[in-house]
Amino acid sequence: MRPPPAHSLVNRLIALTLLLLVFAGSLGLGAVWFRQEISQTANRNRTLAGKLADIERRLDEVNAQVAAAVNPDALLRQNEVMRLGLAAPREIQVVRVAGSAELRLASKRNLEAFSVAATSAAARNDLSFRVVTASLR
């Protein structure tokens, strides 16, 4: 078998070298692009962290303002300024309901409803309208 000609070997070597250069170049460019991306992402993160800190700072500011506005002294001042006349109840004004308020109100409502129903039934012919309550449905 004949050995390949010398120039063919040189050509192959040059081609391989070029390929290597392209590969190395691509790697280099890739690394640069990669580093650039890292830089941009890092700086974006820094900006976002700065914005977050800024928002938290403003939130603290608002919270402090809200707290100052709703403290008892400030509310009482507002009550006076706005002439609302709001006052804490006194014991004499308070009616404490023993037992279940719901049951008591329900029985009162039922009493009302049944008496209205009875009245309606007695004077059905006289009334131009009829009172309809939940108990009559």
Binding site: R35, I38, S39, A42, N43, N45, R46, E56, R57, R58, D60, E61, N63, A64, V66, A67, A68, V70, N71, P72, D73, A88, P89, R90, E91, V94, V95, R96, V97, A98, R104, L105, K108, R109, E112
Partner: protein
């Protein structure tokens, strides 16, 4: 061209290339080895930076989560007058320079408006000036004359963020700023002695700010990175980073509304009686949680620097008073607990002296003459002689042991520190009269909080608790990381005895020394106290400590309340506990009943329309 010439040329080229490489190599050796340290130092100085990230100090909240102390950013606005000067001098065209100067002048006038300062002040700040520095440090401007350009002229401190946004929007040449965090107290003076404050240097001075600093302060973080020519951080070159850890939030047991109620009452007391000092404390008897603690005089936390030092004292724990008749709960409780007497046992309170251990002892005077009184009446009418006889029935040592067990003469372990122990001498140091005087609250002194906690032990079934002011600690995300449960110190009385004594104490407002200050249905139990103050070593007849310490409802205690007023000035009269302190107690109790929705013990017998569901 001959082969020899070509060979020479190749050799020459090779030598040239090698020489170049050698040159580069030598330079590299110099850069990397010989000058390495100096160059690295230069680069470090020029590019590397360490950015400190300050931890945000935790907030202090009341029991319902209302802010009592928080941190707010404020901006210090300053001016670099030379920056404006340099900006204008860059422009060589006189017309353009004049236009730029005019534009900047208009902006400065707006700046003055935003900062609320006269335009002249701003113009003065923008006038370039030199300042003296140490000649050793004078290398900044190339000349060593002990002068340098003043590039930081402070214009205004404490500018809020919205105002600073407007200032930044003006884009004024030479305006610089520094952001600082300042502690703000939204309630102003609310719970001032409990919260404490941070001074201008950021050092916690007293109260929760100081004692809970470990929880509140957090941990600063830092970032090691590089900066560009404009001093902006190059985030991609961050090499080391210690993350910032913000401070934890502290939740106190204080209730802002309760605190406000007692502070308002203190203001009233102060305006009526101009006392030396006054203290009001409200706690939950079952946990020892302090719902409110206030002193007169007090101060505004946001203006602490203007407050005199006396107003910054937490009198509830730093000052001692003789407890007076409020101390009678010791003798009465101990005698009942030991089974020596019952509420119906009667003692002769009309006698002026009594034989005790072979000696005749003069009994203390009474405010009004009494005959034989039952133990219940001794408590209700605050008989000094009755209390003395109860103590004598117990004996010195047993009486002393009970007084200790009530917490007198020892720290209450108030969590925010600064308290004094009070004085309770052991029997070995007593003179012949002490057994008759101590039961009425003389020869002993205690802080208002000690007196309060002693009464609290009667209210909660005989248990002496540690006063609690810290409810819990929360991390910055709001998770509870530590809770502070009630701490029992010791059992003073059996529960049955404590309940019995509580019922006897209701007699004080029903028929005793504070008659008329009952609230129907709410069983006010309490004890008045009127102590003559020691002035120049003698008991004064004009200076008194007035107190009312009690709780309600007696059979189901929900609040323990103490009102202690030192040296109240009552026009034409004596500052009795029933005159000064009992009305304040009554007024506060009325409000607390509504606010805390305390239900009456005795049911209402009145027929109300509301119970029927309203008018038909």
């Amino acid at each position: 061209m001959s082969r020899g010439f070509a060979n020479n040329r190749m050799t020459l080229l090779a030598v040239g290339v090698i020489a170049c490489f050698m040159g580069v190599a030598v330079r590299l050796v110099f850069l990397s080895v010989v000058d390495r340290e100096e160059l690295i130092r230069f680069v470090d100085r020029a590019r590397r930076q360490i950015v400190i990230e300050h931890a945000r100090r935790g907030t202090i909240l009341d029991t319902h989560g209302n802010l009592l102390a928080t941190s707010r950013s404020e901006i210090t606005v300053a001016v670099d007058p030379w920056a404006l000067d340099e900006y204008l001098s860059i422009e060589k065209n006189p017309a353009k320079r004049a236009r730029r100067a005019a534009e900047e002048s208009v902006k400065r006038a707006r700046l003055a408006g935003l900062l609320g300062l006269p335009t002249a002040t701003i113009e003065q700040a923008f006038t370039p000036a030199l300042r003296a520095i140490k000649p050793a440090d004078d290398k900044r401007d190339g000349k060593v004359d002990g002068l340098t350009k003043d590039r930081w002229v402070k214009v205004r401190e404490g500018v809020d963020e919205p105002t600073f946004d407007k200032i930044a929007g003006l884009n004024i040449r030479g305006v610089t700023s520094e952001r600082v965090y300042r502690r703000v107290y939204p309630g102003g003076g609310l719970a001032a002695h409990v919260i404490g404050y941070l001074n201008k240097e950021g050092t916690p001075v007293c109260g929760a700010e100081s004692h809970l600093d470990l929880y509140l302060k957090g941990q600063d973080g830092w970032i090691e990175s590089e900066k560009d020519g404009a001093r902006r951080e190059l985030a991609q070159f961050r090499s080391r980073e210690v993350t910032v850890s913000d401070g934890n939030d502290v939740v106190l047991t204080i209730d802002s509304v309760v605190q406000h109620i007692i502070e308002e009452e203190l203001k009233d007391l102060a305006s009526k009686y101009s006392p030396n000092f006054a203290t009001i404390i409200a706690t939950d008897p079952m946990t020892g949680a302090i719902l409110g603690l206030a002193n007169y005089p007090s101060f505004d936390l946001n203006n602490y620097s203007k407050a005199p030092l006396e107003s910054q004292r937490n009198y509830a724990v730093t000052d001692r008073v003789e407890p007076g008749s409020t101390f009678k709960i010791v003798a009465a409780g101990a005698a009942l607990n030991e089974g020596i007497v019952t509420p119906f046992t009667s003692l002769d309170c009309g006698i002026s002296s009594i034989d005790y251990k072979g000696r005749t002892i003069r009994l203390p005077k009474e405010d009004e003459p009494f005959g034989r009184l039952s133990v219940a009446d001794i408590v209700a009418h605050s008989s000094n002689r009755g209390a003395a006889q109860l103590a004598m029935l117990l004996g010195e040592q047993r009486f002393y042991d009970y007084a200790r067990s009530y917490g007198f003469g020892q720290s209450t372990f108030y969590p925010l520190g600064g308290e004094v122990r009070g004085t309770l001498a052991p029997p070995a140091q007593w003179d012949g009269l002490t057994i008759s005087r101590m039961p009425m609250g003389h020869s002993v002194d205690a802080t208002p909080l000690q007196i309060h906690m002693a009464m609290s032990a009667v209210a909660n079934g005989g248990v002496l608790l540690r006063p609690e002011i810290i409810k819990e600690i929360r991390d910055p995300a709001g998770r509870v990381i530590r809770v502070f449960p009630p701490e029992k110190r010791n059992q003073v009385l059996r529960p049955g005895t404590a309940a019995l004594l509580a019922q006897l104490l209701t007699g004080v407002v029903r028929e005793g020394t504070a008659k008329g200050f009952d609230i129907p249905g709410f069983e006010i139990a309490g004890k008045t106290g009127t102590t003559q103050k020691l002035v120049d070593g003698k008991y004064s007849s004009t200076h008194h400590v007035a107190s009312f310490v009690g709780f309600f409802p007696a059979s189901r205690p929900e609040v323990v309340l103490s009102v202690i007023v030192d040296d109240a000035r009552v026009p034409g009269g004596i500052a009795y506990g029933r005159v000064v302190a009992a009305p304040a107690f009554h007024h506060i109790a009325e409000q607390l009943i509504q606010y805390l929705e305390i239900k009456p013990v005795t049911p209402a017998t009145r027929s109300f329309l509301a119970m029927q569901g309203g008018v038909r």
